[in-house]
Symmetry: D2
Subunit: 361 residues, 4 copies
């Protein structure tokens, strides 16, 4: 991964700012001959799209994707696929607050420290708007590994975790939280409503599972499947933690509790548990690949937070408070669900190509 | 990161198997003119070295590093630094058990599925012995960022966490667990002893803190400092989870609890908290960079675990049990402490060079 | 370089086909704070633009570039710069000839062999139209190394070389051949006219010189400045040979003839010759960096050439002849001049960043 | 390619200086299961080895290669292959001349300008000794593409070219010049003897041909097969020019002369010529891949050349003359022949893996 590109062989480069004319990405390295049109991508963008319920930001972006290159007569040609979404709902709002002071929890100060100045309109390049292109690229990636099924959901919201016993995959798409547990979904409505009324925000943990990943994908030592997943997930805005399989819980198990015993099966081994999350030594074992990503609460809150002004010409900052008005997700983790799934797809498609290069299948 | 290389501009390539003649690495991209000799590297290897207490493996490797290239008259020349450690303590033990059946929790089956066969002696390339070269390379990396101080410790062992109130950095080096809390260290002796007697093993969580990291290091979007750290840590053997700053705990905080308020300071902003772990938008804020890595319990245990034999010529596996005799760490997380610190050093030195390239300082 | 990306730290990814809706590129890694607008880029595109004289293709593309991201208030932000040119002059011509048979000298057969099918409209991705984005990216690169001056010209056309004694830099821009020798320019008019009338085409050699390159840029062993230049030049459509300094002529000199003697100067050494083309051991010496690129004659000619049809369902090809009607450059080398200069700029800006990363200046 | 690594998927990292304890390389990404031992590599090193005739340097290095990792029971495991050669014949000669003044044509001044100082013993990292590891790595690469046959030879020496009519592949190995034309070989004996007696040196052009390369290997736009070859060849010490197919001569042909007409064949197309050198649009056409590399004359000559001393503490250089005594090749191009073949093998093996990744075969 380097700056704005991701992946070894399936290489995605994203560009664009929240308030520029458009955002886009280039997907390079896609195998040829795959049927691809905008309709393969749009549904995933629609799932991530803002403004679909009162629980997400009210910014209304149609997020209509266009394919500008890389296909011919409805199939990929093997050349770079350029995808673009025009930015539509850019309110000509007043950004003078954000221009003058740093919002804690945002990248405002860090960008300024790095680059000497920054595009402060809507977060510029640090806006989560960039993740739309990950979702678009992820839709392409899924077509490269058609045998793999990827499912992501909100596993925990504001500290309230789903009951695994009530996990129902069918429910995920039928509530605004991507919640697989109907009872948790009901509770979360209140959690979010209360947070929003209080001018506050909530964090979330998103879980993801990929089934159909053949044993053998991944590679030691620094291209490990789990290391690639960790980088992919941690590169998503607001993510502060990543787990593979049991993750931190594994550190509290004994060796025999944590073992995934094996038994002979019809088609390769049968595992009697999956604490490892489908990865051993950085290589897929054939079990479902599972991971979890922790999203911090949205940093843009109405509650004022102490901060400082941008240094003046003499390098002097003033103490002030800042509260972030505008249209913000009370919990960025929710719309992170399609993003997590997309990053899983991108990592797996890339690892598929890497594996095929070295091992031939 | 690609297969056996790590880093963008400070690029480390490691090689070698547990039971080959030697292990080594090439550190490419090091700035010229830095004083470097074996004595700058050896102390870090000694800290990781096995056989120093009854709480780690009894394999006795002197792990003496040699610099084979890249220095002249005691200074780095800017050309690749080749480091090598000869493998000494390779017992001609009987590996037929491991050759015939897969050890659950190990990479045995995954390697076989990927490559069609594997070097089963001591884990071959998947052995944690590879991490010795990370430690050696990390020692070089530290010299590239002399203003940065890196400290790692065991934060939790077998589910028993240190008391942050009793944190004493001086204590870390004076017990066999890299434990900064003397009372926890005393408890852990029993935990480990009991695990070993029971033929079991324990997991651990290792924490790491880097101070002196200037605001501005790191880069959006896919070369984020935290994403690079996540990949670096997750690439360490046995690591199953990574957190930056508050990590998963941040997902349970409200927006205002999680904010790191800022106040004007003499030399840039003063932060009133560090939930973010010193990174915002993938870029360092100038606060200490903090992370935690979860190590699963050692997979090599005396307790027998159900497994299968390697498929015979007809592709048929048999059910069997396997227990791993030999000299193993009852808790691999302990010796992971110097490795975690080394990966932090490597990531930071690489990000320093990346930042200097783009921004000039 | 990987597939459609070029450069280590200044990384350019191009996309787009000749007959798609647009072509574009993403320039990643540009330092922040550089003044940049479309007017910095457009003149270079205008120099390369087709249809400006009867000696180049009559296709009329305005080639108007738009900056879609990466700048704020007229300066680069350090984030990816997305550039796009809409394709305008796409005649709905009949491509059935090209669809059915392979044009010798073109990539038709090779693309088909690789990908199983191809976008045959105007060459698709293999069209020299892609080089427009190199020119656009090169314009950005020049701003990164403002102390460097790059000049390219046609050194030889149809086997007729300029007289170095008559070299006049002022003349380059005042004739349609980028020819620095007025007498050669006059001769070349006839050469081109005759070739076009005969339904034939001509090759050319393009020379390029960069002055102001500080000693020290470049790097051993596989990131050599001259190796990077060689790859950059050879990646341009129709280029079949690259020379640095004296190139092949150096192979015919004796050691003492080829030496570039040095004498003390006011500001570093003074070289008494520049057979080396400003590069030694892959590193700039401070002399002008010089190279030459050989362009083969345009493959699209009216003269029929024996070829085969695309295999039918039974894998059977027929013998046929093909002649390429349409609007083609009688000598692609001419419009290669701005492309060669752009690739020089991209390589040098990238090497500047690489050098600054490792050596600090 | 980055600093000391070469290749995308078959990635070779070399290290070591002329007068260090050893030189070596790491070959990463090799497919598993390939039979490999030192005897597969040594013959290629022996062909390059110095001291085998009076026409090459009298330095006597046995150049015995050791495999330190990456194989198990005689087969590659898919993990990094570490190769090492100990430096044996390091005369404790007096390097004070070279330490004090810069040898024109060498990298002495450039290294100093870049790094601030340099290992001046025998050229340090800029020594052609590094190419031994390319030859070793190339021997591994050949095993990855067993269907490809690679042949290199000296095509021209001191301006005297072989007669293609007398080309006899059998003769290449039976004279000290890798010359396929017995009459030219006889002439070259005198040329070299005279040059050496005169304290001078000669250049050479090395040609290389790879047969059995399937149509489809290679990739647009910046990973072109010919662009990769150009970088590979230009990265060899002393190379100043590279041609693919007809190279510069193609720039002097007309379009119809340069066309490679096609006719239907039993197994794909039959080409009636190969001006293109087996590459179109950066992708192999199935014809032999041909290239030529121009080697400048050896810079180390007995004839004194004007130069300057290393700047003293006040930054002042003195004018002086330098002549390079010691054991040097009168024509470095000769021993470049196995190096050129090795780079061809490395590029092709890498492109094979890249192609298999994207296209599946």
């Amino acid at each position: 991964m380097s700056h704005n590109s991701f992946g070894h062989l399936l290489r995605v480069t994203t560009w664009g700012e929240s308030h520029g004319p458009a955002i886009g990405c280039v997907v390079d390295g896609c195998p040829p001959g795959i049927a691809l049109s905008e309709t393969d991508i749009q549904p995933f963008l629609d799932a991530r799209r803002p403004g679909t319920s009162r629980f997400t930001t009210q910014r209304r972006e149609p997020d209509e994707v266009r394919i500008l290159s890389g296909t011919f007569e409805g199939r990929t040609t093997g050349t770079p696929i350029s995808l673009m979404i025009e930015n539509v709902d850019q309110r000509s709002k007043d950004y003078s607050d954000v221009a003058k002071a740093y919002r804690p929890g945002h990248a405002d100060y860090a960008y300024d420290a790095k680059y000497g100045f920054r595009d402060y309109r809507g977060g510029g390049r640090s806006s989560a708007r960039e993740t739309a292109m990950r979702v678009a690229a992820g839709a392409v990636a899924r077509l490269i590994v058609p045998g793999v099924t990827i499912r992501a959901w909100t596993d925990e919201l504001g500290g309230d975790r789903i009951d695994p016993e009530r996990f129902d995959a069918e429910v995920i798409g039928s509530n605004p939280f991507f919640c697989p547990d109907p009872e948790a979904a009901a509770r979360w409505e209140n959690l979010i409503d209360n947070a929003r009324k209080a001018g506050s925000s909530l964090g979330a943990v998103v879980a993801c599972e990929a089934t159909g990943v053949p044993a053998g994908w991944g590679a030691p030592v620094y291209a490990k499947l789990d290391a690639s997943l960790a980088a992919a997930m941690m590169s998503i805005n607001a993510v502060k933690g990543v787990e593979i399989g049991d993750g931190f819980a594994a550190a509290r198990l004994s060796g025999e509790q944590n073992a995934d015993p094996m038994r002979p099966g019809v088609d390769g081994p049968v595992f009697l548990a999956n604490h490892a999350g489908g990865v051993a030594g950085g290589i897929a074992t054939g079990q479902p690949v599972t991971c979890r990503a922790a999203f911090k609460p949205t940093s843009s809150i109405l509650t004022p937070v102490p901060t400082i002004t941008r240094p003046d010409q003499d390098g002097k900052s003033e103490a002030t408070d800042i509260s972030t008005r505008g249209r913000h997700d009370p919990c960025v983790g929710i719309r992170g669900v399609p993003v997590v799934a997309a990053m899983m797809a991108l990592v797996l498609a890339d690892q598929f190509l890497l594996h095929r290069a070295q091992c031939g299948t």
